[in-house]
């Protein structure tokens, strides 16, 4: 081996030690061969240089060789190290995605432990980071594996926002106690459901129409899911809702007319 100063020798030993640590569990690379390559390279590079070789001269060579980690083949890097590397050096959208998922995971832990407020704050922060990751990753059309990290917090928040407006009519369709106990119960319920169906149908028709008119606005709010909804299906949905609403109205009117006679009799008796 070439003649090195004490500082240079320590520097080289430190570098080789780090390389050995990186290659410790490597299956495909011979550590001794790598070490031999490094020493051979340094000797060849510094062949004509004045001896002993100084720390700075050796350091220049080691910098050109690259970090000790780069001697490990990419396919051999442990998954956890890849995560850390991504967080330290990776593209911003991936870092944000990892942090977002990490916060969501923490929020679940806090929720299980009963700290609901902290859990809620973590979910909201995770949501914000997911949106930021979406924006940072807009160079590519397909998010690929990032979806698994970003989507969970987005889905949770979007479902919370949309859940009530979309689902409350389902409860409206639930059973209520009939005020007129003279009526045939089955027929009453059917009439009530028909008119409730009309009300719910009109509600959803208005809701979907609002979405259709303000599609761009909703695309921004509910990225990236709203962007994937084809407008053609929205039109078909409106038509189906309208048809069902009209059918409910017609059925309700017919059934109500049929029960009309009995209703007049009941009212007359009540008013006497």
């Amino acid at each position: 081996m070439i003649n090195l100063t004490d500082d240079a020798k320590k520097n080289l030993d430190n570098y080789l030690q780090q390389v050995r640590i990186c290659l410790k569990d490597c299956q495909t690379v011979d550590t001794d061969e790598v070490e031999q390559n490094i020493k051979e390279h340094i000797e060849s590079e510094l062949q004509g240089s004045p001896k002993p070789i100084s720390f700075d001269s050796l350091n220049d060579i080691l910098k050109k060789l690259g970090s000790p980690q780069q001697w490990l083949p990419e396919e051999e890097i442990a998954w956890w190290r890849k995560v850390i590397l991504r967080l330290r050096t990776g593209p911003e959208d991936w870092r944000l995605a990892y942090i977002s998922f990490g916060l969501l995971f923490l929020s679940v832990i806090f929720f299980i432990c009963g700290t609901v407020t902290v859990s809620l704050l973590l979910v909201l922060t995770s949501f914000c980071l997911s949106r930021a990751a979406l924006s940072a990753g807009t160079i590519r059309d397909d998010l690929g594996a990032q979806k698994c990290l970003i989507y969970p917090s987005l889905i949770i928040v979007y479902l919370t926002i949309c859940g009530f407006p979309l689902l409350w009519p389902v409860f409206l369709l639930g059973a209520n106690k009939a005020p007129w106990n003279r009526w045939d119960e089955t027929v009453y319920w059917m009439i009530a459901y028909m008119f409730k169906g009309v009300a719910v149908g009109l509600y959803y028709f208005i809701l979907v129409s609002i979405y259709k008119i303000g599609a761009k606005f909703f695309h921004i709010i509910f990225r990236p899911f709203a962007e994937k909804i084809n407008q053609k299906y929205i039109n078909w949905l409106l038509v189906i809702i309208l048809i069902l609403t009209i059918l409910c109205l017609i059925a309700g009117i017919f059934m109500f007319e049929d029960q009309n006679r009995e209703w007049y009799i009941y009212l007359s008796e009540k008013l006497r």
């Binding site: 070439i2 495909t28 690379v29 011979d30 061969e33 790598v34 031999q36 390559n37 490094i38 051979e40 390279h41 000797e43 060849s44 590079e45 062949q47 050109k64 060789l65 690259g66 970090s67 780069q70 001697w71 083949p73 593209p91 160079i139």
Partner: protein, 115 residues
């Protein structure tokens, strides 16, 4: 944003080109690792860290494209010399043809002509 895009693209391009560069550098001759590094580092933009050449040489050896021989050196300890195997020559020929096709097509596109 543009710098990052360019860096990412250049990194991906270098990954493929380095292997072609190493094989072309060794073709028809017998070189040791440092000689190969010296040949390639003169190509602008191809070699960012010189240490990346050695893992490529190891991988090419594992694939059977290069073989190594140890030769005594008058200038120091014994050195490991690399040369192409017949399998390596065949794959190099295919890679060079592929690269020529891509380069030709890209040059045509750059010139605004149709393929």
């Amino acid at each position: 944003m543009n710098d990052r895009f360019l860096d990412n693209w250049a990194t991906q391009l270098r990954k493929g080109m380095l292997e072609l560069g190493v094989l072309n550098a060794i073709e028809g001759t017998n070189l040791y690792g440092y000689d190969i590094v010296r040949k390639l580092r003169d190509i602008k933009g191809l070699v960012i860290s010189e240490g990346t050449i050695y893992p490529i040489l190891s991988r090419l050896k594992r694939e059977g494209f290069v073989r190594t021989t140890i030769k005594e050196s008058t200038e120091g300890p014994a050195r490991k010399y690399y040369e192409l195997t017949s399998k390596g020559e065949k794959i190099l020929s295919q890679m060079n043809d592929y690269w020529t096709d891509i380069k030709t097509g890209t040059d045509i596109l750059k010139g605004g002509k149709k393929l």
